[in-house]
Symmetry: C4
Subunit: 232 residues, 4 copies
């Protein structure tokens, strides 16, 4: 069986999603890319997590065409494919319908940056792309979902190497990272900052965003050139 490394990585990442409480039933998927081979491994569509094996992962190219695998790939495969094609620095993608993240997406609002937990991971609000236009929905829907994400990043001037998560309005979160493990990590971080921001705004509707000096400090200590968080 080919592409053992990305199969294993995608499998392990998918299995993390229910363990972290990020998915109910099959409401999520993770994929891992092999940049040299130009393909990625993704969860088969609608298969319960407990039945998954690395061998069941589907190998797909950047046009969304199945390269290897007997099962049908995740219905969101074309979104993954486009993001891999357009954003050459990302190594893994996760899509969930995690509760608090999805609640903000349904509220059609970005998740405001309210504290250092958020700033440890990104310096801006978690962006929320608007609900898609009808022409996009009736077209190649999952492919267009990828464009909706990419264009919203362009509009906001965001770099997907620095901001590794988004909400798609009325839909749910997508996250990514240098590896699929990082993409899973970001999916859990998004859910937690979504929950904290919700609670903060309920407690104090007028609570301000985190000020820029704290945003930069927390980001820099974890991600800047003189970062001192973690074991280098």
């Amino acid at each position: 069986m080919t592409h053992a490394a990305i199969r294993q990585a995608a499998y392990a990442a998918n299995m993390q999603l229910p363990e972290l409480g990020l998915v109910l039933f099959t409401f999520g998927n993770a994929s891992a890319v092999d940049r040299k081979a130009g393909v990625f491994a993704i969860k088969p569509s609608g298969v319960p997590y407990r039945e998954l094996t690395p061998e069941m992962m589907i190998i797909v190219d950047y046009e969304g065409r199945v390269v290897e695998g007997n099962l049908r790939p995740s219905s969101d495969t074309k979104t993954h494919a486009l993001l891999y094609k357009e954003w050459s620095n990302i190594g893994g993608i996760v899509h969930t319908h995690s509760t608090y993240g999805t609640a903000w997406a349904q509220a059609q609002l970005p998740i405001p940056i309210m504290g250092t937990t958020h700033a440890d991971h990104l310096t801006v609000d978690v962006p929320c792309a608007p609900p898609m236009a009808d022409a996009r929905i009736s077209g190649n829907y999952e492919h267009e979902t990828g464009w909706q994400i990419i264009e919203h990043f362009r509009e906001l001037g965001l770099d997907p190497s620095e901001v590794e998560m988004i909400l798609v309005g009325n839909h749910a979160p997508f996250t990514w990272g240098k590896s699929v493990e990082k993409a899973v990590y970001h999916a859990a971080v998004l859910e937690e900052v979504a929950r904290m921001a919700y609670l903060s705004r309920q407690i104090n509707p007028d609570a301000p965003r985190l000020k820029e000096s704290l945003v930069q400090k927390h980001w820099q200590r974890k991600h800047g050139k003189d970062a001192y968080y973690g074991q280098q």
Copy 2:
């Protein structure tokens, strides 16, 4: 022992309810029907889930009469019986008092369709039948609960093959499906969309319902004639 298949299916479905966090103590029940035999298997009343066995399931006909079993069937048996009698396409029914679903029922409001998680399963708000009239309550209460559900579907012009869940006002959710496994699945989906809709409205009281183009797209990709979700 007769009706082994529906006993086993009803047993397994009942055991899923506490595992999915949908019931406290004995606040729920599941049943599975055998259309050829014209009977269904249902949980005995008030028996803790951990003591259940397939043999303890009660076999009941569409008039709510016990066909086999020494224990008293669920107090909600007549509701199940009427739904099986009137809706010949359903194969299983679940009733829970799951927290968020019940909270919307107590609020006497349908669960608004706020995102694609909801539209993946139904194209309309989760209906909420009004609290029952006093004459119905003082009559054959559980049988009348069935009529309350059926008549609300008729009023709204809903098809129980397409909309497989309802709230009974001031009471709690009922769900169903082609099989009892599907009915359990719908009970968990109802609880999750109830929770997400609650949170979305708390975050943004003015958040609009999901627009029709997205409703139809998500429903069609999972349930339409050209559905491409899952392994057919």
Copy 3:
């Protein structure tokens, strides 16, 4: 060792409290009474649940005096003692600081009866005794807490055989029952109806209480002379 039956019952009930998610650390206690002997068994004060044994339960009389046991009994012992003394029909008592129940107590509001889940267990709002008067607080505090409960029941004309739970304002829930197992059950029911009522009022601040016909129907089918819930 004497009083083995109530020791075992109190022990088992105390162990249920963390399992049901009703206590953090040692924030709760359960007791079981032996009406013939005129004593009850109660948890020792401040001992972690995982270290408890039936032998560690303290045997106390209705005046709150230790009859047997080397450890200090729960700091709430005098409240239990008075309730046993004044209410001769109750067999067990539970006190917790469960999250949602305590939140309503801190809000100084009874838990409104909003649905059938509540009416399955009692026909009125869960009462909330007002915060105690300063003279009571500076006196024999835990004994006076018992009087606060009893007098609030008298003022509202409630029968402790029918309404088996209360909030003490700014403090937390107390529940009881024919046995300590029932008292534990009521502690969990109180927490769940507290949570559901909270959510219902957040969803719809104008949601009305459950109407009387439904209150009576649900209570009667579970507790009336023609009750048909459970296995008699």
Copy 4:
């Protein structure tokens, strides 16, 4: 290996944090001090809890200098060091980003004392230090975080032997105690009172603080000279 006792204590305390649901991933740290040796043991930075061993704990002095250990210590080490240096009575420190505590910190509000659960542990609102000034942030940030905590205690006239917890505005909770076990305990207590106060204010925005007679009664029965809670 030196300092076995504080290594073991710090290790055990760190492992408690995910078990108590107080940290996601590595968002927290605990330390234990040896007052005779003038050093403390603290978690290494960014290492997942499941990989920790007592031997991996880093030994640090009150100036924040590593005395023993090959790994980089927690990024919050200088905050711990200053608190140990300035507050000679504390034996352990815990920092988490627990959900409800952090939500109040992001709301820039102290956690109001609403009930006896709170008064069992402290007689005042859980203080919330204001977000740090820009000069402090751009300076020796973690060291200055310690000063932010200490100065806020001075301003409010609080004694760190009696009030063993604080929120740092827009950041998260810090707690401490006579031992690191107590600091962990306080971290869990803070999270629970944060959650209860949140819910009480949602239920009743006008709910008053706990009156002083009850505050003092509950504090005294657990901590006063005639305390009668626990086994002395």
